[in-house]
Subunit: 345 residues, 2 copies
């Protein structure tokens, strides 16, 4: 049980010191002691400009849980009997997601992929273990682990150098593959990731700036298991911002790794987040209007979604090496591992 | 005839001092004396990162003229026999547009709407008169003038206050109305505005962030004269950036008003331009990919464009007061003027 209210000054200083990398704006983040909770009228701990509201800790937790419950229901993500595999990284979003799903009474286990990025991976692994032992154990939730170094013989950085590919795309391929593998092998009904509103709005901005129609079609918070061997994928946090999830983690004493991945510095996604935050400060609700408006627009042209699944079925078949679905003879993960083994030997 | 090369240091200092409001980045704007012109190999005066090129003054002017000629041709804007009415404000874009069209041999007159914004309007009017007398007169081009105060009895600021509407939307209604009126009354074939790549990309970003489908459909660089009483509208500068047009104006000694309109401070459009400039610095070509990619996408779904014109025809009819096309009984300009007269009396 997490108990005790964080004092205003503690909460304030925690955010200011720890969250510079999120570009969360001081003025909208700190507790305004003049504000009262919109729901229960006690002293508020956080203001939410885009909802024109402020909440005390209890009502804020209620708000967060409600947003996740609405996401699950409206996007038909999963039910109480489904077994969910949460992809956890040790960051605020994925740990908050695991925490919220367990508190909402869902059967949620998790998978952590140890990438082998020196101290960063050690710290994030420690945060995941700590959360799993304390909070998840009381709900009888299980933590799976995959260690890149064990299978590939090298951490993600060395592996990417070895096969001459950018680190972030190598990492993406490995994570997608391993999450899908564990979900299928362990018979989970659905895989959940901690992507929040900021992540989805930034990704949408990137796709829109380049008008990548194919990616635009696939950018929903609930992707069906289009073919045998592909797990259903959902993003239950798409209605909550990065700032709201940071506040949720701090208020509920979820100990998470604050630093961004050292490999992601200067990435396009961080740039898109920055400019969206700039616009959000001037016009609260910009990100929400942008991403939710997009989803609304996609819902109206439903036929494309059906076509997409059909298209997947038409082009995907089992990988000759590992049997996971792929468009090629051998899937990109198996190719990568084969190249890594050739180069290492 | 404009003659003489601007020295590097003069050009440099002119840009740095005068263009802070455009958020043009120093590092990409100044003349790098180590660069040579991509075309003729003499010393370059400007580098264009998004084209991976650098040009001397002569080749840069050639590049600018070529971009405008390509815009006119590819979007079927007008021919050599057409009479064009250029909307001039005294700013770099509209004066550069008038200059370029005349130099390319087109029959281009202009209209200046005097908004009555104190010293700002006086200065911009003076710049337009100066350009018209010197450059346009030698091409026998004519300058039309409409003075808001003469017709409405007040400048734009007081008028907006009088009728309780935002200044920028009042100004937009008046400009659109007057340009269309003069174009139709004086039998111009087409109306040209100085909107550049930055303007169009910023407007597109605003429309995309709010998914305003109706506006998205109308955001092309060439809008046909859909109904009787509506002039055809074109934007021949959509292939050139704000920075390129500022350089063109300075290099060709076009004396323009550098300040943004004082009413536009903090406007959404300026915010959108700022964030796009931020992304452009990191990834040259972002604005071009975004806007041109959008146009390409629109071209593919041609049927909508036809439907749009048909839709216009179906809903528009002559205003009961002035006969310009409107969707209402009386057009918004006539309503505005009627309200202004009621409140003033």
């Amino acid at each position: 049980m997490l108990n005790g209210e964080l004092g205003n000054s503690l909460l304030h200083s925690t955010f200011i010191i720890q969250h510079s990398s999120f570009n969360i704006h001081h003025s909208t983040f700190i507790i305004d002691s003049k504000m009262n909770c919109t729901k229960c009228k006690t002293k508020a701990v956080i203001g939410l400009p885009r909802h024109n509201a402020a909440f005390c800790k209890g009502c804020f937790n209620g708000f967060v849980h409600d947003q996740v419950a609405r996401a699950i229901k409206s996007e038909k993500m999963f039910g109480k009997d489904d077994r969910i595999l949460v992809a956890v990284s040790g960051g605020k979003d994925s740990l908050a997601l695991w925490d919220i799903l367990l508190k909402l009474g869902y059967r949620a286990d998790a998978l952590y992929v140890h990438l082998g990025i020196g101290a960063y991976s050690e710290q994030s692994h420690a945060k995941v273990l700590k959360f799993a032992e304390a909070a998840a154990a009381s709900h009888r939730a299980k933590l799976h682990l995959h260690t890149v170094e064990q299978e590939a013989g090298a951490g993600i950085k060395e592996l990417a150098q070895l096969i001459h590919r950018p680190t972030c795309s190598t990492c993406g391929t490995i994570k997608r593959y391993q999450f899908n593998r564990v979900a299928i092998e362990q018979h989970y009904d659905v895989m959940a990731t901690g992507h929040n509103l900021d992540d989805e709005a930034a990704r949408l901005l990137g796709n829109v700036l380049h008008w990548q129609e194919e990616y635009l079609d696939k950018q929903g918070p609930s992707l069906p298991a289009s073919v045998e061997g592909f797990a259903k994928k959902v993003k239950p946090l798409y209605r909550l911002s990065e700032r709201e999830l940071a506040a949720y983690a701090v208020l509920n004493r979820i100990d998470y790794i604050v630093e961004e991945c050292p490999m992601a510095k200067g990435s396009k996604m961080l740039q898109y987040k920055e400019v969206l935050n700039r616009l959000e400060t001037e016009s609260p609700g910009t990100k929400q209007t942008f991403y939710w408006g997009f989803l609304e627009k996609q819902r109206k042209k439903q036929p494309t979604a059906t076509t997409m699944t059909e298209k997947d079925r038409a082009v995907l078949h089992p990988c000759a090496s590992c049997s996971q679905p792929t468009t090629a003879e051998v899937c990109s993960y198996c190719k990568m591992m084969a190249r890594a083994k050739t180069h290492a030997s």
